[in-house]
């Protein structure tokens, strides 16, 4: 994603991609085990800080990328707020029943989705896909057949877009414009089937070409054009995540902004 726009390199870009992926995935488990909204708020702030300061992208563009965050917060929070279970009734209107418990649980969910989105966006903005697959092969021993398949698939995307345009023009020239619900399904078929068929054909040809070049003969060590290894940045990243999570857990116990310590 970040390949298409110019941006500054920060220390987050130098963190080993496979390491970053694993730490981020484990952080989700920490979020799953957090039931205290005060802890969740601190965890969310801890996730937003690297995005704000070390993504390497200019503030305005960052704002654009982060624009769905508000919608995300609201959409995750409101359902639980209005229809969750709880004892202390605050507001009732028809089916809508906002209680103290459901309100805080909704808020907790809002912060959860904000944290998850922030971690995900930070990862996407500071990781080059090519680097991730090389480091998955080198650090985590992902078989090259899988890694190079991803890289080949990425290269097919522009061709796919081109094909889509061609297909649309061809259909326009023939004046095929079905309407209504049936028409919508018809149109979906007219696009999806040729595009998917072409994808499969192209993937098959690419695989045949790769094998013709003895790609998957598999014996012996591969050499890599890009070499990735662990560095000081990896230690800093792991320490940041670990310390901020510990701090969040401690602060959440001591200092309660929200008068609930468990939303379950």
């Amino acid at each position: 994603m970040n390949l298409t726009f110019p941006h500054q390199e920060t220390w987050l870009h130098r963190v080993n991609p496979a390491h970053k992926l694993i730490v981020s995935a484990l952080l989700f488990l920490v979020v799953l085990l957090t039931h205290n909204p005060n802890v969740m708020i601190t965890l969310t702030i801890a996730a937003l800080l690297p995005l704000l300061f070390f993504s390497g992208h200019p503030p305005l563009r960052l704002l654009l990328y982060a624009s769905p965050f508000l919608l995300l917060f609201v959409s995750s929070a409101t359902g639980m707020m209005m229809f969750g279970t709880g004892e202390t009734l605050w507001f009732q209107y028809g089916f809508i029943r906002i209680t103290e418990e459901s309100f805080y649980r909704g808020l907790h969910l809002g912060f959860r989705s904000l944290q998850v989105a922030a971690v995900g966006l930070t990862f996407a903005l500071t990781t080059r896909p090519v680097a991730l697959f090389y480091s998955l092969m080198q650090q985590l021993r992902l078989p090259p057949r899988y890694a190079y398949s991803f890289l080949a698939a990425f290269n097919m995307l522009p061709l796919l877009a081109e094909e889509f345009v061609t297909l649309r023009q061809a259909l326009q020239i023939r004046g095929r414009r079905p309407r209504g619900i049936r028409g919508w399904y018809e149109r979906l078929r007219m696009y999806a089937i040729p595009l998917l068929a072409q994808c499969i054909r192209r993937a098959h040809r690419t695989a045949a070409a790769m094998e013709a070049k003895r790609f998957s003969s598999g014996s012996g060590q591969r050499t890599y054009f890009y070499q990735y290894s662990l560095s000081a940045a990896d230690a800093w990243y792991a320490i940041y995540i670990l310390l901020s999570s510990l701090l969040a857990w401690q602060l959440g116990q001591l200092w309660s902004l929200i008068p609930v310590s468990d939303v379950r």
Partner: protein, 205 residues
């Protein structure tokens, strides 16, 4: 060129995944990953109303797994496709970030389980529907922990689950099967099937 037929599928054992299988699965997953990413904002717009209309659309996120299996029909394809599509969604900055990888893993497993139950031999609409339900159940399992959905009012919880299962049956089950069948008719899938005795006879003649 007398040994040509075997060179089409090097590494020829039909059990394991060949490079062609992996590449086709991943290319399909990348396409679905794009769709998954676009699907996110639409889902978020529908969601705040709390009536779970958005859950009908949730099945789209299970489609890569069932669809890829209906195309390739080998062990491991459903899991690989679901994880790959989830990874692409995460790369593109999808709203659920890295957590989609966990969802992908579980949803892929849920679908794979049902394909394995039929020893990977059946690829009809019924198996596709069962697999889509498997994915839905796996996703509900994570959502119980992530979204506390079991603490919604009972009618709302029941609505949530039935909408999600119904949506996944329609999209990841029936629609995926219909799409795969339509692709079958184009003849493109013959590229992926092992050469049969009939093909060799045709060469002899």
């Amino acid at each position: 060129m007398s040994t040509a037929p075997t060179s089409i599928r090097p590494g020829g054992n039909s059990k394991g995944l060949t490079l062609t299988d992996i590449l086709v699965t991943i290319v399909i997953s990348v396409v679905f990953g794009l769709i998954y990413k676009i699907w996110g904002p639409m889902y978020d717009v529908l969601k705040p109303f709390g009536t779970h209309a958005e859950q009908l659309s949730y099945g789209m996120w299970f489609m890569a797994g069932t669809f890829a299996f209906l195309i390739i029909r080998k062990p491991g394809v459903a899991i690989l496709a679901e994880i790959s599509a989830a990874a692409i969604e995460a790369f593109l900055g999808g709203s659920w970030g890295i957590s989609t990888l966990w969802y992908g893993l579980f949803q892929g497993l849920g679908a794979e389980l049902f394909f394995a139950m039929f020893l990977y031999r059946k690829a009809g609409p019924l198996v596709a529907i069962l697999a889509s339900i498997g994915s839905a159940v796996a996703s509900i399992f994570i959502d119980r922990h992530y979204g506390y959905i079991d603490q919604l009012a009972f009618w709302n919880y029941a609505l949530f689950i039935s909408m999600r299962v119904l949506g996944s049956i329609i999209i990841a089950g029936l629609f995926a099967w219909a799409l795969a069948r339509a692709l079958e008719r184009t003849g493109v899938l013959n590229l992926l099937r092992p050469a049969s005795a009939k093909d060799y006879d045709a060469l002899e003649g």
